[in-house]
Symmetry: D2
Subunit: 338 residues, 4 copies
């Protein structure tokens, strides 16, 4: 068992990390950090648990530490659920201090020597860890993409054998993506907000790095052009998106690619039976019915039509955030980077 | 004052017609039809009024008639809120009997001699009324498009001066579009249904006719290719849509087209001050805040970005249905077709 | 293993029965009935599965039978998820034919020789089974109360030691209580419907029977007066209610009763660890966060204040419907009535 | 025309004040205050207008002032939409400086020489203004009750002729009552929060003052006992409540009291045609359909049953907040207190 910690353990993504790590077969969750004013208190006293799964009692008695390197002396790996502005320095300090950092924050995603990884798509990019070490770091940082980007790139993973260049995507994103307090009910109830700060830019740039090619010390961007339009809708969990590509193959061939898709990884505990599920039903995927497929780690696709266009949906705080980081950590561990 | 009637006056669109016609300056609402079992009763007794505007008391005492030609002997024009399967024959019978029929039903929209009209876009298509008369009809049928199509085509109206060929649209449609009973709460609450029967096909075909060119006895389709992806979201009223076109002009020029847009009609009572409102704010239009602009007749656009992409939104049961038909009737009347 | 069937297996409650019985340790689900037009087809072909738990694949291949006695020759016990109007005759026929019937329908609940049972409250009422047999029946019917009544009576169960006479209850009920199609989104979204047909009457009469005293051949009603006000709210699952009683004991004593409550049953597979959970937190129970406690079988209470008043909440289609019937069947089985 | 100002003009209640005063026949809105950082900018630049009625353009160019007495030199009356902690001192300072203050804040409501007024119920309580003046103030403060209390007391107003002592009320309150940012979507969507800080206490104490009897220098509390249970539900606007009283008269007599109710005021511009509307329909009032009755100033009651119990509903930010204060100001003005 590898001792692990969670940075920023009381927020929305932090709670998902705790949920996923409470009974993990490889990782033992020993350290939880939060703001100074919570430090020293038991996790059960400081967290306002707002998931609809039971609070993990075995974790509740852990005393919360401040978010800083000295708190982490007993762990080998930390998961970061920090906001981007804090994550920048804290994660760097942790990596410099010899820790493996699996981060859900956006701060370091686009740095040339930091892998931006979705295990089913670019597990080879972990080789950038060695570049970080060559740069003098004892530890390293590995990041996962933005929630919408993860759902879209996984939906595209089965199609990498086809030739295409343009991707257009219109998202319908759940409120949980903005954190527990992020979206007021008065703002989104009976409404759509057709704007999510930085989201389109993240989808348009991160996709090219994830789907890019590993070269000597960096990643060459994939030759795609992504045009995104991002919208918040009154859904609690699960990002749904309409995707167009300029694949010229017949629908039937594309369907075969979805149905026959096999990801290049196996044996990781958080990996779902199906990374991508293909729906024949004309009215699926639907976020409320399908977001928990594969314990929230399966991305569902459906409504495949000529265009080539289709609909994709995945759980934004599991597959799109905490679960993505945990799966990255499992990949790192299985590849002996720890 | 012209005496008018509403066919199918108790349903969702029928109630909107009644709301819009109760105090109309040109039309006097004298006849309401519904199913046989309601015939003979007062409108207030048979309608379950579910709009959030007050019930029009001056209409409540009208006795409901059966939906058939003999009920309509006192009117010159009827508005049809009938379901498509019933509309086909009833509307034909009405037109043959000498009535002007303004229909919101889809049944006759694509027939070559039937105008499919949005007054701001193709008022000249009313000339097909003469073709119908040449075919031996005493009256005529004029139709308005599907709700999503109306919102999209109005949003495109200011851009007709630009050269483009491809349109991609992802809709986020309100539940009222399916009628009062059309969408169960259990189906749509905390959910998205990524499928609306026939909706994509309607957007892809009706757009070409509306934006097409009137030739001698018919309309030559506009040379566009529309690719639609339609989704139901938990919003009560207001269809929102992300639209891409392959216009190659700079964003600033497109913005000027939106801001400077002047429709080719004027003086119609139901016509809003602005047919298309352009939002500078980064997070607009939003259906709950903006659907009632121009008494529900204004289509709002915003988030204009290179692409050229933008977001459009309009009230689906007013601008997209009953209000569209009433505006058509006003255009017909002002052009002396009655 | 006892072979069991579900009458009306495709509806909202029927699907919950299938979910709860698919892996049951005592009951083997072998028979599913539905309307004539589904008969002969596989369950997976005729059911539109709308629960957010995965479809039970092991049940999907069962061929659906018509809802009638001959379909049930292989089972000893049937669960009825039939609508009340159909349930009346079909359940009687089943019981006369020798079957044990555990019914969620309201049809037979108030008949003198039919037990109306919540296992934690009145397990002794099962003795009415013998009265039914004395009346010449080979089988028997056992019913569970209406969903709101179950939640309220379980919340009152720990308080039976106190003296009180009046109960007032205002419910805030979930839409799933009306079935999948029961409540249109247009009716309940951003709204409350302060009326649910027959619901208040059911709470006011069923409570007296459940909490009544078994006498020789019937139940003497409990000497309570219940005054209910029932309201539908935009919540998917979980009925919440504010309850007042005229208990004159101090709040602290009432709290002890909740905390120390032990039901008189044990060892039943569907019985939760806690039948009633007491919340200290000032803002609980909440339906979305707490409805799945105890796999949906725990009723949560909180906000205990002088009055004596408090808030209760339970899952209406599990504890309040299908799970209630299954727990009754387990009790029947453990008491050797089969 | 009397010049008036709004304290705290950018928040939820502040925007409602601006909406109601923009075209007021007696009051000219000349001054808007907000926090220091907005001072000096135009209202249209600093307000994030979030009502679904159009922004009042005639008000948009007013330059916002800081919230302090010197800003108010041009006005005779101010409306306070301040949070309670700030309101305490600012309102006192304004009243001492000679201004009439109509406050929606809770800070001063229960002070003996401050009238807590609902014009239809206790217009005579304005006599306390003279007590304030006797205490040496140049101006005065008049308050309106909490939103839920207003709806309940108006619903009880027609029943004051009956003898009763106990009132029990379970509320289902809209999210707008907590301000625009007050309730996160993640907290209330598909959920109920059975707790609203201080709300029950306000309903239980304010009611007694409003319905109390004016004596020489203060109000003798009404001899009622109110027991409230307050709950937040996923509704945007409109507080609904189930109310029980121990009135012993037959339902028919109570109905007559509702139907025949005439309030003791008339001629005030914001006063609705009906202060209390009685619904015969079995499923009304409903917040979405009925909250805008009387421009949001009518309280609707229905579902009258023996008990005596019934359901009441009113618009919480119009009748329950800004509209209540404006109506108070009109009453003050008509009684020549200005």
């Amino acid at each position: 068992m590898i001792n692990v910690g969670v940075l920023g353990a009381t927020g929305a993504v932090g709670q998902r990390f705790v949920q996923l790590l409470a009974e993990h077969p490889w990782f033992k969750l020993t350290t939880l950090t939060a703001s100074e004013r919570s430090a020293g208190k038991r996790y059960r006293e400081v967290v306002k648990w707002r998931l609809d799964v039971p609070f993990p009692d075995n974790i509740g008695d852990i005393r919360v530490s401040p978010t800083s390197v000295p708190s982490l002396k007993d762990v080998d790996l930390v998961f970061s659920a920090l906001p981007a502005d804090i994550a920048m320095d804290v994660e760097t300090a942790c990596a410099n201090a010899g820790l493996a950092v699996c981060s859900n924050a956006s701060s370091h995603r686009m740095e040339p020597d930091i892998p931006l990884v979705v295990p089913e798509i670019n597990p080879d990019h972990l080789a950038l860890i060695d570049v970080q070490r060559d740069h003098g770091r004892d530890g390293f940082i590995v990041t996962n993409p933005n929630c919408s980007t993860i759902v879209m790139t996984l939906a595209l993973a089965p199609l990498r054998g086809f030739s295409f260049r343009n991707i257009q995507v219109a998202t319908m994103q759940a409120v949980s993506g903005a954190g527990f307090e992020g979206v007021p009910a008065m703002g989104i109830y009976d409404n759509i907000i057709p704007y999510i700060g930085q989201e389109e830019q993240k989808m348009e740039t991160e996709t090219l790095k994830i789907m890019g090619t590993l070269e000597k010390n960096s990643v060459r961007s994939a030759p795609y052009h992504v045009s995104a339009s991002c919208h918040r809708v009154p859904v609690l969990d699960g990002h749904t998106m309409a995707i167009w590509t300029d694949i010229r193959e017949p629908v039937e061939k594309v369907k075969e690619a979805f149905v026959g898709y096999k990801p290049p990884i196996k044996g990781l505990p958080t990996q779902p039976k199906e990374s991508v599920h293909y729906f024949e039903e004309p009215d699926r995927p639907q976020p409320r019915l399908d977001r928990n497929r594969g314990n929230g780690m399966t991305v569902s696709v459906g409504r495949l039509r000529e265009g080539i266009r289709f609909v994709a949906m995945g759980h934004n705080t599991i597959r799109g955030a905490a679960g993505a980081s945990v799966l990255n950590a499992e990949l790192i561990s299985s590849k002996k980077y720890l």
